[in-house]
Amino acid sequence: MENMANKVARIPNLVDWSTGEVRLMSAKCNSCGTYFFPKEHYQHRPGCSREGVEDVLLPQKGKLASYTIQYYPCPAPFKTEKKITPYGIGLVEFEDEKIQVTGIITETDLKSLKLGMEMETTILEMFTNEEKQQVVTWAFRAVK
């Protein structure tokens, strides 16, 4: 894993690296079995008692279910110090959790993208804040 010292997520409660791996912060409803991302994006099955929702981390790796290459810069409030356009956006499937999550694709040759390929969760450095911390978002990259 990359050096995560002095890094901070732009918005909290979405991406975690406390376990030594970068993983997405999800929640699972133990009544209806549905996983949520972000974890507050509740999407219970109708009729579910909504009891027993617990925070969980999604696996570090998943499979590419779809992708696109974005050719114009994402408007503000999106912000990166370095130019990232054109950038890939992936929809990565976590099979056991039955959820697909979007994320910017980084450190990957965009021409090599293929549906079904294995991807891993990582971070993308966006910019340096006033406290001299690297502000990051979650991202995906091809497993080498």
């Binding site: 997520a9 732009r10 918005i11 979405l14 949520f36 991302f37 972000p38 507050e40 994006h41 999407q43 219970h44 099955r45 109708p46 279910a65 779809s66 992708y67 696109t68 290459i69 974005q70 050719y71 114009y72 994402c74 408007p75 503000a76 409030p77 999106f78 912000k79 990232i84 950038y87 956006i89 929809l91 499937e93 976590f94 099979e95 959790e97 039955k98 959820i99 697909q100 999550v101 979007t102 994320g103 910017i104 549906l115 966006m126 978002t137 979650w138």
Partner: protein
């Protein structure tokens, strides 16, 4: 419930950014609808207003702003927002008010001025508004959502880049014949295929921009007004749908979607259209004209399936075989669609209804679908909003 008819419609032609205010555009559309219905303002007994989300206090109370222009009469004014299905909500409320006998004649309208530049987050509170996350961290403008679904479709059903381009070719041909459309240039397949990618596989000419426009519809059950109107159009059903658990579509603004489908794609539109079919007793096979929300070429294809005009994965063949052309089995978007108009959020659903009404009234000139008797307008709004309106003469 009583039978309800459209007796008057009005449009302010679609255009790009304007320095004029939204209520000026609304007034043009409402004036047009009153003249078309041949009635006075005082006959309007309820105003169902689509709100203009970028208009601050005025935009959120668009009905009151409109009412004061024409003269305040004390009638119920309700302001509604359902994303790009806002106009569907407005006409549904107008219909329900009249059908239930609460009022005899009601107005539904929407007006939107295109924001300068790009659409983006409308708050800065990520805990309260998940939309903030997709903009601040996700890097996800709207067309990305469509591109992600489009790629899945290409993989699953073999949709080609030529299919996506052909949609624009057709829409541009029809848009060129529509005086109210914003874009009137006709494009060849080669021109579309050589336009730049916005988000691969979708190209610049295969997605719609934001526009300025206004639309107004007057509905009534008053027999005298119906007989006075030039060919009134019956509303057989006007419904709204929301999403269904297990819908696999990655919805605009969301950061995740189910990996295992337990409901149809675009389930909000499936729900709205199924309700309309059930309520009207009219099925897809009966419909002559369909106005669907072609926000992108992908939408054009998938909506034919979502609304039951063909089986899943068969829309491309319908398109290639010419079945969706004017003169084909089902005339799809004779108006030129969103591709030729762009989105004017609170007005677009009503504009779709008006195109359907105009087709049934035989008013569409060079883009007229000959002998059209039944038409359907279908909308799509982000985060699980949709409406269906079925009309007949």
């Amino acid at each position: 419930m009583r039978d309800v008819y459209i007796i008057g419609t009005g449009i302010h032609p679609w255009m790009g950014f304007s320095e004029k205010v939204f209520s000026d555009f609304a007034a043009v559309a409402v004036d047009g609808a009153l003249k078309d219905a041949n009635i006075e303002w005082k006959k309007i007994q309820a105003i169902m207003a689509g709100i203009f989300i970028y208009g601050g206090n005025a935009g959120h109370l668009s009905g009151q702003y409109l009412e004061s222009i024409f003269g305040e009469t004390g009638v119920p004014v309700v302001n509604v927002y359902n994303a790009c299905a806002t106009g569907s909500a407005a006409i549904r409320m107008a219909y329900n008010s009249v059908a239930a006998g609460e009022t005899d004649t009601a107005l539904a309208f929407g007006a939107d001025v295109s924001p300068k530049g790009f659409l983006t987050a409308k708050s800065d509170n990520a805990v309260q508004d998940r939309d903030v996350i997709r903009w601040k961290m996700g890097g996800l403008p709207n067309p990305i959502y469509w591109a992600l679904e489009c790629r899945k479709r290409m993989e699953k059903y073999g949709t080609t880049e030529e299919d996506l381009a052909l949609v624009k070719v057709l829409m541009s041909e029809y848009g060129s014949k529509n005086p109210d459309a914003r874009f009137k240039k006709i494009y060849s397949l080669e021109e579309v295929l050589s336009s730049v990618y916005v988000c691969d596989p979708l190209r610049l000419y295969e997605i719609c921009p934001v526009s300025t426009g206004a639309a107004a519809v007057i509905v009534t059950a008053d027999k005298e007004l119906i007989s006075k109107a030039g060919k009134a159009v019956k509303i057989n059903a006007t419904t709204m749908g929301s999403a269904i658990y297990g819908d696999p579509t990655i919805r605009i603004s969301a950061l995740s979607c189910p990996a295992v489908a337990e409901a149809p794609m675009l389930s909000e539109s499936y729900s709205a259209s199924q309700q309309a079919y059930k309520k009207s007793g009219i099925g897809p096979e009966d419909i002559d004209v369909l106005e669907l929300p072609d926000n992108s070429s992908w939408h054009y294809l998938v909506y034919l399936e979502t609304c039951g005009f063909c089986k899943e994965g068969e829309a491309d063949k319908m398109l290639r075989d010419g079945e969706t052309r004017i003169g084909g089995k089902l005339a799809v978007n004779p108006s030129g669609g969103f591709s030729s108009h762009g989105e004017a959020l609170s007005a677009q659903a009503l504009w779709q209804v008006i195109e359907c009404a105009n087709q049934l009234r035989g008013r569409c000139g060079a883009r007229q679908v000959e002998g059209a008797k039944i038409a359907m307008a279908q909308t799509y709004g982000l985060m699980g909003n949709s409406g269906t309106t079925i009309l007949s003469v």
